[in-house]
């Protein structure tokens, strides 16, 4: 009975994995594109529904002897990642015509990595965390190289090598924690860390530094961001979108799990809070300043995603000084991740639709896009305004909310760095807008999005405005999810 309950709790992920297998096997027999796409969308829908029933049946609890838990936090991310995967699949339908073979494998890998990301938010055991890190990582390495041209292969290789390095570093940090505590369960480690004395403290700090370095790769924060621009530029654009939103969110989810649960003791939390504050300040500044000089829109969004990761890390640093509560910063991060998912996915969808027609990712070629594709240009403008953090968009509320958490944690200086960075970022985001609205178009040929991209764009734009104007629903959800870490 208990075994069954465990499997039940793993349901959303299992559906994705099962469909991934079915899709690949079916494709050996009948090769129909609509079957592949339909199957993967069905998988995501099934996963969403299963997660929904977990909420409805109140199946929160741990599974597989404490390897993973279903709580509000993991459920939130299950929905988020399923949603992201759905949008990425929709965005891939037109794009994936570029590779005639291996269609089934492409969509199956998206499903597998989505399952991995969901699990990253749910696992509470170092071994399990490591395995799902690899599950996500390896499927993404392949996806990045999927175009199999020069740039894509280079990106894939770069991502693989640096990814392997970061995994090793993460593993080292985990090993230190295991060595200290003799357990891989985050709970047990938390107890040992809380009892750390001066002799063991050094080891805990070392483990913490290694974990930040290893997982910083996933979050794409400075100084672990080196791979971002090249990989973003080379990867198939839907996968770039996936990396910038899904993989990043997964990184933040696992960091919150490990740091809040295993390293949450007051004696150590102020150390990593300071470290995160520094990382946040550097990430925002480096990402924004370097993004200014970019001429390729995918690279620009790559650097922008580094900057956005910086804003997110502000939330990790924000531990309420008064109460030592993690839920404050965590709810900021969770809210921001959801808002950012809509915004960045929207931006990438517009880019996919436009570059499908004009075959270019140069910002200069976006000139006059408002004439050639009014709706896409308006949608992209909305996304860029949201990334800048100007109301009435999701990005604005998210930024204010996360900065509010930082202010409450006595990090006024970090907030000042953050708002000044917003000013800098306005330059390169609005420059694209200016190109689209002001410059003369290179040709009068209309650029149109297909139905799937149009639907994806509508979802993203609708989400941005909805969260921007009526944020209370998402806010309540984020706070509920964040209470998982309440003290």
């Amino acid at each position: 009975m208990d075994e069954l309950g465990s499997v039940d709790r793993l349901g959303p992920e299992l559906i994705l994995l099962a469909f991934a297998g079915i899709i690949v096997l079916t494709d050996l027999v009948v090769q129909r594109r609509w079957l592949v796409v339909g199957g993967s969308l069905l998988a995501v829908a099934g996963s969403l529904i299963w997660a929904g029933t977990l909420v409805a049946r109140d199946m929160r609890g741990s599974a597989f002897d404490g390897l993973l838990v279903v709580d509000n936090f993991s459920l939130f991310f299950a929905f988020l990642f399923a949603g992201i995967a759905a949008v990425v699949i929709l965005a891939s339908i037109d794009y994936s015509e570029r590779f005639s073979r291996y269609q089934a494998e492409y969509y199956a890998l998206i499903l597998v990595s989505a399952a991995g990301m969901m699990l990253l938010a749910a696992t509470v055991d170092l071994i399990a965390i490591f395995i799902v890190l690899e599950l996500t990582g390896i499927s993404l390495y392949i996806l990045v190289a999927f175009l199999k041209d020069m740039r894509s292969s280079e990106a894939g290789l770069k991502y693989l090598l640096l990814g392997a390095l970061s995994t090793a570093v993460t593993l080292y940090g985990m090993a230190l924690l295991f060595g200290l505590s003799g357990s891989t369960s985050l709970d047990d480690i938390g107890n040992v860390v809380a009892a750390a004395n001066d002799d063991t403290r050094a080891a805990v700090v070392m483990a913490m530094v290694f974990l930040v370095a290893g997982l910083g790769f996933k979050m794409a924060v400075v100084p672990f961001q080196m791979w971002v621009p090249d990989v973003y530029e080379g990867a198939p654009t839907p996968i770039t979108a996936y990396l910038s939103v899904g993989s990043k969110a997964a990184g933040f989810a696992v960091v919150m799990r490990i740091f809040f649960e295993a390293l949450g003791d007051r004696s150590i939390s102020s150390d990593w809070s300071n470290m995160f504050a520094a990382v946040a300040a550097i990430s925002m500044t480096v990402g924004n300043v370097v993004a200014i000089t970019q001429t390729n829109i995918k690279r620009m969004l790559g650097y922008s995603s580094i900057a956005q990761a910086g804003y997110l890390v502000v939330g990790l640093a924000a531990i309420s000084a008064a109460e030592g509560e993690f839920s404050l910063g965590a709810s900021g991060v969770i809210f921001f991740l959801a808002a950012y998912a809509f915004t960045n996915l929207g931006a990438f969808i517009a880019i996919i639709a436009i570059s499908n027609r004009i075959n270019s990712d140069e910002i200069g070629d976006y000139a006059g896009m408002i004439r050639r594709a009014p709706l896409l240009a308006l949608g992209l403008t909305l996304c860029l305004v949201s990334l800048t953090g100007i109301p009435p968009t999701a990005g604005f509320i998210a930024k204010v909310y996360i900065f509010n958490a930082a202010v409450q944690s006595d990090l006024v200086w970090l907030v000042i760095v953050g708002v000044l960075n917003s000013v800098v970022s306005a330059y390169y985001y609005l420059r694209v807008v200016l190109q689209m609205f002001l410059e003369a178009p290179a040709s009068e040929e209309r650029v149109s999005a297909g139905p799937s991209l149009g639907l994806a764009m509508a979802i993203a734009s609708g989400g941005i405005l909805f969260i921007g104007i009526l944020p209370f629903l998402l806010l309540e959800v984020s706070e509920t999810a964040a209470r998982t870490f309440g003290s």
């Binding site: 709810s331 100007i390 900065f403 509010n404 006024v412 917003s422 609205f437 706070e479």
Partner: protein, 487 residues
């Protein structure tokens, strides 16, 4: 009712967006009808406003966002006191004028009028929002329409000017956001009504720093020397209607913000800072006037005169008394109408002569007697001739300030002499003087929309000049509680 006024322009935007492309020239009718309805509603509210009652009227309040963990409670809270009421009417009046004088816009009229209405909405929101965060949201929304309006429909170095405008404002509002969050943390509310009744103590940062954070954004907007450099560029390169809105309403956001936020929420710091306000005010008056004297471009001349006239607002604020603050409020209102009219007239001259160089123009009164007469009226009002609006406000400012900062006030009065100098000299060079053969084919203002705009504004100038109580009484009830706090 307030919600109706604030959001009615959005209906206009929606209708304009739905107009088919071949009927895009009808968008001006939609915009004019929308702005007219807003004006009628605003005037109706002005009449219904209870002049014997201090405090906020027509209040609408709903919970909008409530976050328990983060103490992040934001209300949808609209209401006006006398000050907001005056600004609301001013905005509605100039909003209609701006549409009327844009009647000849041929370039992308749909977008143009949509942005103009969006701008009006955000301004109406700024003057009615009573939740600080809501206020900030409207404050920020205004950036996007302005950016487009200047950079697409402007003249000269329009892109540069639009950037400069956006950056200065965004830079200032970045600090405002920090101040806002700190204030929210210290007081645990963003409700301006509550904030301006409680005593704010040092929290996170000293209240002096908080005051600076808050006033910085307003100072850039007003603008206060040395942060005024965006103003001449933006005014000069913006299309006429936008210059009218910019000078007439947007600058007032700065003065309004100082009154509503800085003075009434942090009265203790304001008392200490009063002498600095006065000093900066006098510098603004004299520096602005001196620079105006040497301008050779008509629009730049009016732009710099605004810098000088906003100095009176600052000087009036520094009095911290009933007369001075009412004078500052009056100055905002009258300057809005007078300078708005001046920009309208300059725009008409430019439309006909296609140059704004004072040196090239001469004797225009022969060709355009009506424009010349109205220009003279506006000019005389601007230099403070009795029986016209400008006189009342300047007298109140100087009366209110003299007791407190005698020497500085006397220095400030010199500004009046300088104003007389540059206004009369400008009128003499442009409208009087030799009849030039180059301009013999120019016509007068004959179109109904030009005449309506002119007559409406001239009427308001005389009405306020002859019977100032019609506005002064209202503003006076608005500043009364603020003065009470400052005493």
């Amino acid at each position: 009712m307030l919600s109706f006024i604030v959001f009615f322009p959005l209906l206009g935007v929606a209708i304009i967006a739905l107009l088919p492309r071949e009927r895009e020239r009808d968008s001006k009718w939609v915009a004019a009808a929308t702005a007219f309805v807003v004006l009628v509603a605003a005037v109706g509210l002005f009449v219904a406003f209870d002049r014997d009652q201090t405090g906020f009227q027509f209040v609408q309040s709903h919970t909008w966002i409530s976050g328990d963990i983060a103490h992040f409670d934001i209300q949808y809270l609209l209401g006006v006191d006398g000050l907001g009421m005056a600004m609301l009417v001013l905005t509605a009046l100039l909003g209609l004028v701006a549409v009327l004088i844009s009647w000849n816009i041929e370039l992308r009229p749909k977008e143009y009028f949509a942005w103009l209405l969006l701008l009006e909405m955000s301004l109406l929101g700024v003057f009615t929002a009573l939740d600080f965060l809501l206020f900030f949201i409207f404050w920020e929304i205004e950036l996007i329409p302005m950016y487009f309006l200047i950079s697409i429909w402007g003249t000269g170095r329009k892109v540069y000017s639009a950037w400069k405008y956006v950056f200065f404002t965004f830079f200032g509002s970045a600090f405002m956001l920090v101040g806002l969050l700190v204030l929210g943390f210290a007081a645990d509310t963003f409700d301006i009504r509550v904030l301006s009744q409680m005593e704010i103590r040092d929290a996170l940062v000293p209240t002096q720093v908080l005051f600076f954070l808050l006033i910085f954004g307003f100072a850039i907007k007003l603008p206060v020397f040395p942060f005024h450099t965006w103003l001449p560029d933006a005014h000069t390169d913006a299309p006429t209607a936008v210059s009218v809105m910019l000078a007439g309403v947007l600058l007032k956001m700065g003065g309004y913000g100082m009154l509503r936020i800085c003075l009434s929420i942090l009265p203790d710091v304001a008392r200490d800072a009063a002498v600095w306000l006065a000093i900066f005010g006098v510098v603004n008056i004299l520096y602005g006037a001196l620079v105006t004297l040497v301008q050779t471009d008509l629009k730049r001349l009016i732009a710099y005169s605004s810098v000088s006239h906003m100095g009176y607002v600052l000087l009036g604020l520094s009095a911290l008394g009933q007369v001075g603050l009412t004078g500052a409020g009056m100055q905002m209102f009258t300057h809005g109408v007078i300078t708005g009219l001046l920009f309208v007239m300059v725009g008409m001259v430019y439309d006909r002569a296609h140059t704004r160089q004072i040196g090239e123009l001469s004797g225009l009164a022969h060709q355009m007697p009506m424009i010349a007469v109205v220009m003279v009226i506006a000019g005389l009002a601007s230099l403070g001739l009795p029986s016209m609006a400008g006189f009342v406000s300047e007298v109140m400012v100087f009366l209110g300030t003299f007791d407190k900062h005698g020497a500085l006030t006397i220095l400030g009065v010199i500004g009046i002499l300088l104003t007389a100098g540059y206004i009369l000299w400008m009128i003499q060079r442009v409208f009087l003087g030799e009849r030039s053969p180059r301009w013999k084919d120019l016509g007068d203002a004959t179109a109904w929309w030009e005449r309506t705009a002119m007559i409406a504004m001239v009427a308001v100038i005389f009405l306020v000049g002859i019977y100032p109580a019609v506005v002064a009484d209202v503003i006076s009830t608005g500043v009364e509680p603020i003065v009470g706090r400052l005493a």
